[in-house]
């Protein structure tokens, strides 16, 4: 060590920051994360059970387990047929779908915030929810596809179209600048996303204003704010693989995501093929988001807030942040769905309203506590 370095270290080291010792060494902390990892499936299972049990008619846990055994394990427990129907056809699929959507949206938030180095990035930044809305109203109100297209397919197509437009715009605007090009490209993506979202939101509003009846407008509004009613197992068959694939991709690229800590140019100097990694991850997360939005509408707040909350809890390294956010997103959305069903008796609130109503104050608390520990 040089003299200068020694004096530097000795003058600065003893300034005892209260939080200086909190983030443990990288490796032991990663290992201790594995000690806790057995909790994750347990928590998730408990959340799904709670989501199935709680509702206008409460269903006891043993009934749920019996129904599960009947369906999954060829058991023949005697269960009330209405209860069995509620559990299997209605609530269980709904809880699992909520979990998948929560996971997918939270992961998309983690990835976009990491890659674009912008704390306000969320899954809907890329114009996906706006495009999905336009696609949905085109099918529902304008009758595009003449009845052959479902609302979901229309939403998926709209999301894909909007995302494609945003990517082309970002690519055109972000190319051909000099030093720090990769960092400037991140800014171009954000601006292109805002422009794309505004355009498609305006199109949606135009279609509703010109063509929709009051009844249709109300239905569309409800869909736009997120709606898990009428979920079937077919939806789960799409959402579960999408969520798991999203999780696998994020874990595979966890070190690349870490490498973006000091920006895209710094990631490039660490040997990350920035354009490829960014392309693969953003496209994958756009697909996951589009799939979720097309089924349940644009559920806000999850993708923005869950990653931030988890950064406070487990730190910003993606080895821990990715699984933690996936789990927290799943549990949060199951909880929000339960609340949306029981908050107002006899009425189901849009789940997006609930996520924001709970999420905003919860997030404010986290921010305030985080500020105190600084």
């Amino acid at each position: 060590m040089t003299d200068a370095a020694r004096s530097l270290a000795s003058t600065t080291a003893p300034s005892g920051h209260s939080n200086a010792a909190r983030p443990a060494r990288l490796v032991p902390s990663a290992r201790s994360a594995w000690h806790w990892s057995w909790l994750a499936p347990l928590l998730l299972f408990a959340a799904v059970m709670a989501g199935t049990a709680i509702g206008e008619t409460a269903i006891p846990l043993d009934t749920i387990l019996k129904v599960l055994a009947n369906h999954l394990g060829d058991a023949t427990f005697a269960v009330d047929r209405i209860d069995a129907g509620i559990v299997w056809e209605y609530r269980l699929s709904r809880a699992i779908l909520a979990a998948c959507c929560g996971t997918g949206l939270a992961l998309a938030g983690v990835v976009l915030q990491a890659l674009l180095r912008n704390p306000l990035a969320d899954p809907f930044l890329m114009g996906i929810s706006a495009g999905a809305s336009t696609g949905a109203v085109s099918v529902a109100i304008l009758g595009i596809g003449a009845g052959t297209l479902t609302l979901s397919l229309g939403a998926f197509a709209g999301a894909g179209l909007a995302f494609g437009l945003v990517v082309v715009l970002a690519h055109t605007a972000g190319s051909g600048t000099g030093g720090g090009r990769a960092t400037q490209a991140a800014g171009a993506i954000i601006l292109a996303g805002i422009a794309g979202s505004q355009l498609f939101n305006a199109l949606t509003a135009l279609i509703i204003a010109k063509s929709a009846s009051a009844e249709q407008a109300r239905g569309i509004m409800f869909w736009l704010m997120g709606n898990l009613s009428g979920v079937r197992w077919d939806d789960v068959a799409l959402a579960l693989p999408a969520a798991l694939a999203g999780l696998a991709i994020c874990l595979w690229y966890r070190r690349a995501l870490d490498a973006f800590t000091f920006g895209a140019d710094s990631a490039a100097s660490l040997g990350i093929p920035v354009r490829r990694v960014r392309g693969v991850l953003i496209a994958a997360m756009a697909l996951v988001t589009a799939a979720m939005v097309s089924m349940v509408g644009a559920i806000g707040f999850v993708g923005l807030v869950i990653p931030h909350a988890m950064r406070f809890l487990v730190g910003s390294r993606h080895t821990r942040l990715v699984p933690a956010s996936a789990l927290a997103g799943a549990i949060f959305l199951i909880g929000a769905d339960v609340l949306s069903r029981i908050l107002v008796a006899g009425q189901v609130l849009p789940i997006g309203v609930v996520t924001a109503l709970i999420g905003a104050p919860a997030f404010a608390l986290i921010l305030i506590r985080g500020a105190r520990t600084r």
Partner: protein, 254 residues
């Protein structure tokens, strides 16, 4: 590691940022790049670090064309320290330095004891071993720059490229960082604004309008005529009996 640029061109929207630049930096050499703002120092550094593919000409690392190398191969040999890279993430010094191991890790390979040892060594080399658990946002500018250098050293590079690492630092941190960098046994290319500091390099190259207009030992290159012509200043050399070399005294801008 020997780093080499051969007839390198780089242009953006028709504007030439690098114009037929050729240079070779020998293994173990500390090479300074000087020049006015916008003369192409940063762009040349990025080309030599393998981060920019030249539009014409080529960049070579130990005789191998960098275009043909994969990004992680380059990052295992060449480390690059940007100007003032910052983050909003809450992360500890040690975690930031550990990022330097990225090119050596694959998605399936776990973090190893050896990686830990290398991070420890990198922290010690920049004198930050007692601050390993400090959080990034509590560090001063000079400490942050040390963390970046430690991260680069954790790449175990054979060449280290630094883009104005002393910018915005107080004089004490400027001197200690330059001293740290000069003592490294590897090839170092450093872009500098302070011409007095450039006097301590083995050789320097002068950039002007995207061209490398002169190259050689600092005393031979930084003539009064060069200072007037390229940098637009009137200056004199004064003898400093203690350092045994002349120091620059700037008089006024032209």
């Amino acid at each position: 590691m020997r780093l080499c640029a051969e007839h390198v061109d780089w242009r953006v929207h028709g504007r030439r940022l690098l114009d037929d630049v050729s240079l070779t930096v020998e293994p173990g050499e500390t090479f300074g790049l000087v020049g006015p703002n916008g003369s192409g120092k940063t762009t040349l550094l990025r080309v030599l670090a393998g981060l920019r593919r030249p539009k014409a000409g080529r960049a070579l690392a130990d005789g191998r064309q960098m275009q043909t190398m994969r990004p992680h191969e380059i990052a295992r040999a060449i480390a690059f320290v940007e100007q003032q890279a910052d983050t909003l993430d809450r992360l500890a010094v040690r975690q930031a330095v550990a990022l330097g191991r990225t090119p050596f890790l694959t998605p399936l390979s776990p973090w190893s004891e050896e990686d830990d040892t290398i991070v420890d060594q990198a922290l010690a080399e920049v004198g930050l071993e007692t601050m390993a658990e400090r959080l990034w946002h509590t560090l001063s500018g000079g400490e942050r720059q040390r963390v970046h250098i430690a991260r680069a050293l954790a790449q175990r590079p054979r060449a280290l490229l630094l883009d104005e690492p002393t910018n915005h630092l107080d004089i004490r941190h400027q001197l200690s960082i330059l001293r740290l960098v000069r003592r490294l046994p590897i090839t170092v290319i450093i872009a500098l604004h302070d011409l007095d500091q450039a006097m301590d390099c083995d050789r320097i190259g002068v950039m002007e309008g995207g061209r490398l207009v002169d190259i050689g030992p600092p005393r031979e290159v930084l003539t009064l005529e060069r200072l007037r012509h390229t940098f637009g200043v009137h200056a004199d050399f004064l003898d400093d009996p203690e350092q045994g070399r002349p120091v620059l005294r700037f008089r006024r801008a032209l």
